[in-house]
C-alpha cells in the first residue's frame, strides 16, 4: 500500500544559516499512529511545519495522499489537520464559531451537525457559546483538536499534544487519539515523553539534530534494543563487586545491598546461568531476584547520546 505521507530528502536551512532538517526521508502508513521522538530543538516542529506548509523547504519533496504538497498544496492540505504545540487562540472568539471558521478555511460549507458532534466528542459542547479566553488550558487544547478536525482530515498532526498538561488531561488526549485511530485517521505526534509514544504509537521515529536516526515498529524497537536488568537483593551487603565476578556487567546499588546485572535478552547467551553459578562459588548469597525490561526511554536516551 502506498504511504499516505511520503517525505523525500527534505532539507530546511533557515535564513540565519541554521540547518534544522538534514535530508529527512520518511513514509507514513495510512491509519497508523506514528510517534516522532526527539529532544528539544531536534527538528520535530520544523518537520511538521514544513509538511503542513508553514515553513518553506529548502529542498526535497513532500507527497500527501499522492499530491505534491508544494505544487498541489490545496489537495495536499485538505487531507491534513494540525494541532500546534503552542496554544494560539483568538481570545474573543466563540468556541463554536471558531470551529466553523476552521472548517471554512478548508473551503467547506458550514455543517453545524458536524461541529456539534466534534464538540461533544471533545466535551466542549457545553462551552460552545463561550469566548475562548474563558476556557481552561485543557479545554483550549481540546478546542485546538476540534478545530483541526473540523474539515475531517485523514491525517492529524499533534505537535507535543501533552506538553505541560496534567495527568488526567494527558490520559484524555490518549483516549482521543485512540478513538481517532479507530476511525481510520492517521496520526503523527511529536513528543518528548517516551511514555506517550510507548502508550500510543504503532511506530516510532527518532529525530536528532535534524536527522531521522531511526524508524521502527514500537514493539520491534523495544524487542531489538531491549536490555534487561537482573537485580539481586543480597543477604549481606557488599563493599565492592568481588574480583571473581569482574567479567560480568555488574553494578552495586542500594549501598551494596543489591547487585544489578545488565544483559541483552537477544544475545545468544544471557549469561545468567553462569553468573548464578559463579555467585554461589564466590559465596555471595541473595534473598530475592527481579528482572526489568528497559523502557523506550532508556532506548531513546541511548540513541540520542550515542548518535
Amino acid at each position: 500500500m502506498a504511504p499516505i505521507l511520503s517525505v523525500r530528502d527534505l532539507e530546511k536551512t533557515y535564513e540565519g544559516g541554521f540547518q534544522a532538517l538534514k535530508s529527512v526521508s520518511l513514509d507514513i502508513r495510512e491509519g497508523e499512529v506514528f510517534a516522532l521522538l526527539g529532544p528539544n530543538g531536534a527538528g520535530k516542529t520544523t518537520l511538521i511545519s514544513t509538511i503542513c506548509g508553514l515553513v518553506r523547504p529548502t529542498s526535497g519533496s513532500i507527497e500527501v495522499g499522492g499530491h505534491d504538497a508544494l505544487k498541489n498544496f490545496r489537495a495536499a492540505r485538505r487531507l491534513i489537520g494540525l494541532v500546534p504545540q503552542e496554544m494560539p487562540t483568538a481570545p474573543f472568539e466563540m468556541v463554536a464559531d471558531t470551529v466553523s471558521f476552521s472548517r471554512g478555511l478548508f473551503g467547506l460549507k458550514r455543517d453545524p451537525a458536524l461541529v456539534e458532534s466534534i464538540l461533544k466528542d471533545l466535551s466542549l459542547w457545553d462551552k460552545r457559546d463561550n469566548a475562548i479566553m474563558a476556557l481552561s488550558g485543557g479545554m483550549k487544547r481540546r478546542l485546538l483538536v476540534a478545530k483541526a478536525l473540523a474539515h475531517e482530515p485523514r491525517i492529524l498532526f499533534l505537535d507535543e499534544p501533552t506538553a505541560g498538561v496534567d495527568v488526567e488531561l494527558r490520559h484524555d488526549m490518549w483516549r482521543i487519539v485512540g478513538e481517532l485511530k479507530e476511525r481510520g485517521v492517521t496520526i503523527i505526534l511529536t513528543t518528548h515523553y517516551i511514555e506517550e509514544a510507548e502508550e500510543m504509537a504503532d511506530r516510532v521515529g527518532v529525530i536528532n539534530g535534524g536527522e531521522i536516526i531511526l524508524v521502527e515498529d514500537k514493539a520491534e524497537l523495544m524487542r531489538k534494543l531491549g536490555r534487561k536488568l537482573l537485580t539481586l537483593s543480597l543477604s549481606e551487603p557488599l563493599a565492592a563487586v568481588p574480583q571473581a565476578l569482574a567479567r560480568y556487567d555488574l553494578m552495586l546499588a542500594n549501598d551494596g545491598a543489591s547487585l544489578v546485572y545488565t544483559y541483552d535478552t537477544h544475545a545468544e547467551r544471557t549469561g545468567i546461568t553462569s553468573l548464578l553459578t559463579d555467585l554461589s562459588a564466590a559465596g555471595v548469597r541473595f534473598q530475592d531476584l527481579q528482572t526489568d525490561q528497559s523502557s523506550l526511554e532508556d532506548i531513546f536516551v541511548d540513541l540520542v547520546k550515542g548518535g
Binding site: 506548509g53 515553513v55 492540505r77 503552542e86 474573543f92 478555511l105 473551503g107
Partner: protein
C-alpha cells in the same frame, strides 16, 4: 479559488468589528465630526470661502479622505498583525488558501470597515455643512480606490511589524502628517510658492485633490494626475505584497 475561505476570514474580521464597534466605527466617526464642529462651524465661519466653497464644506472631502486613509491603514495592519501576534495565523497559512485569497479577505474586510466609517462621516457632514457631489461616479471611484490602496498598505505594515510600536509608527508618524499636509484643511494654492512645489511630492495631495474635485469641481492638480497617482500607489502596494508572498517574508520562514 477557495471562496468559502475568503468568506470565513472576511466574516470573522467583520465579526471582530461588531465586537469592537466603539473603537472601529464610533470613535473615528466622532473624532471626525469634532473637526466639522470646530473647523467648520466654529472657526470656519470666520474663514473666507476657499475656491468659492465655504470653508466648512471645503474640508469635508479632506476629512473623509483623512479618516478613510487612517482607518484602512489601521484596520488592515491590525487585522493581520493580531493573528500573527497571537499565533492563530498558522491556521490560515496551513489551510488550502492561497496568498491572493488571504489578501482579498483581510484587505476586503479592512476596506469595508473604513468605507463604512467614511459613509457615516459623509452622511453626518451633510447635517453640519451644505454638501454637493458634482461627480458621484468619480467620488465613489476615489473613495473605493483609496480605501483599498491604504488597506493594502496597512496589510503590508501589519506583516512587516513585529511589535506594536512598529505597527503604530507608519500610521502615526508618516501617514497622518502626510494627510494633514496634503491639503485636508487647505488648498495648496494658499501656500507660498516654494511650499506649493514641495508639497507636490506628497502623494496624499493627489488623492485629496481628486476626491475634492468630485465634490466641488475644484482641484489643486489635474484629475488624471490624481487618478494616476492613486493607481501608482495601488500598483506599488500590490507589487510589494506579491513580493512578500513570493519570499514568505515574515510569514513563512
Amino acid at each position: 479559488m477557495n471562496f468559502e475561505a475568503i468568506k470565513s476570514i472576511y466574516l470573522a474580521e467583520m465579526a471582530r468589528t461588531r465586537r469592537t464597534i466603539m473603537q472601529s466605527i464610533i470613535s473615528p466617526v466622532i473624532s471626525t465630526v469634532l473637526y466639522f464642529v470646530v473647523f467648520g462651524a466654529a472657526i470656519g465661519s470666520r474663514i473666507t470661502e476657499v475656491d468659492g466653497v465655504s470653508y466648512g464644506a471645503f474640508i469635508v472631502p479632506g476629512l473623509i479622505m483623512l479618516s478613510l486613509m487612517t482607518q484602512s491603514l489601521s484596520n488592515a495592519s491590525f487585522g493581520i498583525y493580531f493573528p500573527k501576534f497571537t499565533g492563530t495565523i498558522f491556521e490560515v497559512l496551513s489551510a488550502p488558501v492561497s496568498f491572493l485569497e488571504i489578501t482579498i479577505a483581510y484587505v476586503g474586510a479592512a476596506a469595508t470597515k473604513s468605507v463604512l466609517v467614511g459613509l457615516i462621516i459623509l452622511i453626518t457632514a451633510n447635517f453640519f455643512v451644505p454638501l454637493e457631489i458634482q461627480h458621484p461616479f468619480w467620488m465613489a471611484a476615489f473613495f473605493m480606490l483609496t480605501a483599498v490602496t491604504f488597506a493594502l498598505l496597512g496589510f503590508i505594515i501589519g506583516i512587516w511589524a513585529d511589535n506594536f510600536e512598529k505597527l503604530q509608527f507608519v500610521p502615526l508618524l508618516i501617514v497622518t502628517p502626510l494627510a494633514f499636509l496634503g491639503g485636508s484643511f487647505y488648498s495648496i494654492n494658499m501656500l507660498p510658492e516654494f511650499w506649493q512645489t514641495v508639497t507636490l511630492v506628497n502623494p496624499v495631495v493627489y488623492l485629496i485633490s481628486g476626491f475634492r474635485w468630485s465634490f466641488y469641481g475644484q482641484a489643486d492638480v489635474s484629475l488624471w494626475l490624481s487618478l494616476l497617482a492613486t493607481l501608482i500607489f495601488l500598483g506599488g502596494s500590490l507589487a510589494v505584497i506579491h513580493r512578500i508572498f513570493k519570499t514568505g517574508y515574515r510569514l513563512k520562514p
